[in-house]
Symmetry: C2
Subunit: 689 residues, 2 copies
């Protein structure tokens, strides 16, 4: 029990640190009037987005709350679940909200900082990223603590009841995360593509020109997609991995000590991450490699601290099971390796992306083929890394002797991977902030000197965003696996005893696998289509403004930025419904039609294809983006050449890949598991009829 | 036993019918001297390809033969297997060889026939396609009969030994099929892309211009990819489904009667297909829809005959198990439905492809995004159809009571789907022949009237090719499933008794699933890359000829067609090695590292992702091709417009999708299963050490 005070302390520490960082960013000067003006517009736009997004999502949450409450009345669910569903959604949304507010506040300040020195720019952007990272971690632990204390008061000392109830909490967070990722993803890419199509192609004004009515929406998009979406996504993985490992600890017979291990590691992770942030700094005149090194040093130091600290956690809590230590390390190492592989495939300092740029010599079609092929090839190493981590953690934890011990090990490896989330997320959220700062520097025609610095920061942001995505996918796979295990455990534990054949040769499992394997493809198709439809709406709105608002092109009248933002929001809002419903409804329908064994197949198939497809899309998209930047840097004819145009096609295809469909799949694979867990009671009852 | 005489008779009938059709095609006039000249060049090129292809493949077969022979000496394999490996490869190769020879003979004759009447053109092309269809079926049944008689002489009446031995026969056919598909696919797309890049873009000569040194290679490619590759692929599915169902019959306890059912259905399928071909005819002035109807009528009549005949087969052989009849029907119906869905998604008479053409209004990037999204969406229905067919055949066959009965049902559904292969393959092989005829008509500047007719035939060919691919994928999934079941059965039956946990929660199975799920992505990446590399080699060769051979552009000297063909062959030869080795080596390595449970996971994961990815690639590719044709038909600015150029990018990306990577994945999922079965003894022995 005492461990929960540590968790509460860790939560408090994280939130205080996030607040300090927030104040530190706020203190920075905002720059010139022009900069403030643009930053203001982005902030206003982001608020408009949030207002509509949350009011739409509120309806979904209300409906689901009523359904869950009805299920609780029917006895298929604990009465805590509907409320936990709300708090999960609320905290996940709050994480995104705070992160986004900070990011939109930090963009002009980062540009201003970069005008003084590179180190200053880095500091501001990274501090803002830290607000996001530590808010996610702090709120996650807060949610866990609150519910633990409530449940412990209701079921004093009954750890099994506590963990079973807590397991269902993730569904709210997952739902909110999916809305944030899909909605944000549609928003950002619709604005991006729409702004380019009318502005650059039709009106002939340069990129990021303030006369383009969609330019602010484009900048807002960076924040709502990459910052808020990523935050909600990882909030969900973080909480999900801890609660599912807790449930698996009980199944493994470790009781409270076993539940305490993931909690303790998470709490210590806060401390380790805070220490790590102090090592993120660079000297003036640092190269891009030095900058990356600065960010990496912080992450590696945090990881090293966890490696040492978790040894003692196991030593103290479960001294007879030191193998669990290996499980934690395997997850931590896997996370770092996946990041490295992602960087190799998407950074233009390595061969794959350079070769992709070479393919622009023979036109757009070869750029597309090479990019898809690169993305597919890049799935090999992450799959092998995760596979190794699964086996290592399973057998280290004693899976050879007892199946349940091994599953607990897999859960711990997910917790290990996510333990340093505070700092890894800071590094990741730093990317879009630097990106926005670069945009502001460009739009306000700042000194070449400043632009050079923001470019260095921005380019680095692409790499950290890519590694962040690799990390998000890896942790999603392990978390989803722990959730599937928890689902099986939950079904088996339902009163009346429900036995099911989970053999891969059971045709029900097989059919579930097939449908699950297809789900990410359906989901990706829906989200990619949504981007196309939303972009068309923006094209029409921008054309309307150019026609009806006099003086835009002369720069005498300001375009109606908010209308474009509103239009993006409305489209995103409408179009995110179908993919989300797919994620929620399919596992329920499959469960009703072919039962829990089919659901296990569905979740596993979904996990397998989803993992591979998500990596493929994220890496292909990242590589296309950087291949374009590589050509813009002067290779293959440079900006404006035919080769450059070919890479622009690649980049445009990559946009929904890497910022909409790919990262949403991470959440899809967790949300389907969460939904299955929450509806398990109902579905088993239906099949026992 | 008597049933084998039926099978031998069916084989003879099919081969005689194929020979008659061959003579009928040969009898047709070849057309003008110009047509004969071009046809001659294509034939010469195809011969050059075959010569090198077979000499390269011979090395692979020799090496594997020695390995298998060594394993037989070591006692891990029957001594029949190495020899059966050779005959399987030989007959599969022979099927492709005969089909291709006929196709290259029929192209000018089809064009000549079309100059007389549409019906005449259709007849010639369809007769040539029939040669292919019935050769595949006839040789398949011949191979089965020969081995059955040999094995029955060695193990008189011991049906279990016979089927276990026959099960390993498919590996030779699978290997040859993979070489044919991958090699042919690389060849055809390298020639296509290479010819376009230098001819159209650099030299400014029109498509299909005889001055282009790669134009013959391009035409050869249609034959080696679509005809020979498809034939070898389905030869393999056909034989594989029959032998694996035979093995499952023994496991289900049905003995010789159970083994006879698939054999009888296959033999009757020959008769049904022959009857069906007589209904393929059309009136002069028929629209494209009428043409399609003509082809469909033949297929549907054959299917109807099988529906009636198989009732009596079950009634006579296994009268107490009439549920098996349902299993057969479920496969047959699933095949027809998948064909219909494929047509819906890839034909420009339906919305999806028309919408894809619409997306050309906003450029190449949106064409790519929409096409990928269309391909992904098109996987939903086939997955649900196959899933339904699996469940229906499993439970109809009595799977609820006994697991092994159900598996036998799944095997029978694959046999049912493939029973009318003679005519479905004829319909399919007709496509590239009509395509070639259209090319010849265009190259020899025949009457507008003739071109209209060949265009109608060609356009129809696109649809039949697409439905043929859907059918190939569907049957591959069911066959692979039957093979996986046979593998499990084989491992369990190995002396000494090898028990393995096939629960989906076993981390070994899970890791196998993950690696298997990634395999098709790796495979697709390797094959797409291969096309790119081979195309580059062609570009260089064509440039060399334009430079060094005087008089090409003036039309006074003929370019060195054979050199381009040779170049394509050599590249295809070299580049097909890596993907093929992946398919052969990965299941062995996984087996050695994590054992048979991991292999079952690998095969299942491979099947799931492979099925979805193959459909996605085939349908996206088909839709891109037809969207381009739709624009060329006058929509969205027509030929030469910016929209047309955007659809050309889509078509080029689609080329390796639909003709190289996609269809090769069908074979990948079967070959990995076959390899696993053949090496099962060795791997189990290794793990029992």
């Amino acid at each position: 029990m005492e461990v929960m005070y540590f968790v509460a302390a860790g939560s408090t520490l994280a939130l205080i640190f996030a607040f300090c960082m927030f104040l530190r960013v706020k203190k920075q000067p905002e720059g010139t009037a022009e900069m403030i003006h643009i930053s203001e517009a982005v902030r206003k736009g982001a608020n408009a987005y949030l207002k509509r997004q949350y009011s739409g999502v509120a309806i979904f949450f209300a409906v689901v709350f009523v359904i869950l409450f009805g299920m609780a009345i029917g006895g298929y669910l604990s009465f805590f679940t509907p409320f936990a569903f709300l708090t999960g959604g609320f905290f996940s949304g709050l994480s995104g909200f705070i992160g986004m507010r900070t990011a939109t506040m930090a963009n002009s300040r980062t540009a201003q900082g970069a005008s003084l020195s590179l180190n200053k720019g880095l500091k501001v952007a990274f501090s803002a990223g830290s607000v996001m990272g530590f808010t996610v971690v702090g709120l996650g632990l807060l949610d866990l603590s609150i519910w633990f204390f409530i449940l412990n008061a209701v079921f004093p000392g009954d750890i099994s009841s506590i963990t079973t109830n807590m397991l269902t909490f993730g569904m709210g967070a997952s739902s909110m995360a999916l809305f944030a990722r899909v909605g944000g993803g549609i928003f950002t890419k619709a604005a991006d593509v729409g702004a380019d199509l009318v502005g650059k192609v039709e009106a002939g004004i340069p990129e990021d020109d303030p006369r383009n009515p969609a330019v602010i929406a484009d900048n807002v998009g960076d924040n709502v997609g990459d910052v808020a979406g990523m935050g909600a996504d990882l909030y969900e993985s973080y909480v999900g991995s801890i609660v599912s490992t807790g449930a698996l600890a009980v199944a493994a017979g470790y009781g409270m000590a076993g539940v305490s291990v993931p909690m303790m590691i998470a709490a210590l992770g806060v401390l380790a991450s805070i220490i790590g942030t102090f090592f993120v700094k660079t000297k003036e005149g640092a190269s891009q490699k030095n900058l990356l090194k600065a960010l990496r040093t912080g992450t590696y130091i945090s990881a090293a601290i966890i490696i040492v600290a978790s040894y003692f956690v196991i030593r103290i809590l479960l001294p007879d099971h030191m193998g669990l230590y290996g499980a934690i390390i395997s997850g931590l190492v896997a996370g770092v390796l996946i990041g490295a592989v992602t960087e190799y495939f998407t950074s233009d300092t390595y061969k794959p992306t350079q070769k992709l740029a070479d393919s622009s010599e023979t036109g757009a079609a070869t750029v597309i083929i090479s990019g898809l092929s690169l993305g597919m090839l890049s799935t090999v190493a992450p799959v092998l890394i995760v596979a190794t981590s699964i086996l290592a953690s399973y057998y280290c934890a004693g899976g050879a002797g007892d199946f349940n011990l091994g599953l607990y090990g897999i859960g711990l490896s997910a917790v290990g991977m996510l333990s340093t989330l505070g700092i890894t997320l800071a590094t990741d959220a730093y990317g879009p902030i630097a990106d926005n700062a670069g945009g502001i520097a460009e739009m306000t025609h700042m000194d070449a000197n400043v632009r050079e610095r923001t470019d260095a920061l921005d380019s680095l942001g692409n790499t950290t965003a890519a590694t962040g995505k690799g990390f998000a996918i890896g942790s999603a796979a392990l978390t989803a696996l722990a959730l599937v295990a928890s689902y099986i455990d939950k079904v088996k534990g339902i009163e009346g005893g429900f036995n099911f054949d989970l053999s891969i040769t059971n045709p029900i499992v097989l059919v579930g696998l097939l449908i699950g394997g297809m789900l990410p493809f359906l989901f990706a198709a829906l989200t990619m289509d949504a981007v196309g439809i939303a972009a068309q709406a923006i094209v029409i709105e921008v054309r309307r403004q150019f026609k009806s608002i006099v003086g835009i092109m002369e720069g005498t009248t300001e375009p109606d930025y908010a209308a474009c933002v509103d239009m993006c929001t409305r489209s995103a809002q409408k179009l995110m419904v179908a993919p989300t419903l797919v994620a929620v409804i399919v596992p329920i329908v499959v469960g009703l039609l072919i039962g829990p064994a089919g659901v296990v197949g569905l979740l596993t198939g979904n996990l397998i294809t989803g993992f591979v497809l998500a990596i493929m899309m994220a890496n292909a998209g990242g590589a296309w983006d950087n291949a374009k930047k590589y050509v813009e840097g002067g290779a293959h004819g440079g900006k404006g050449s035919a080769q450059h145009k070919a890479t622009v096609v690649g980049d445009t295809v990559g946009d929904p890949f890497k910022d909409t469909s790919g990262p949403s799949i991470n959440i899809l694979i967790k949300l389907t598991s969460m939904v299955s867990i929450v509806f398990a009671g109902l579905i088993v009852a239906f099949h026992l009829l």
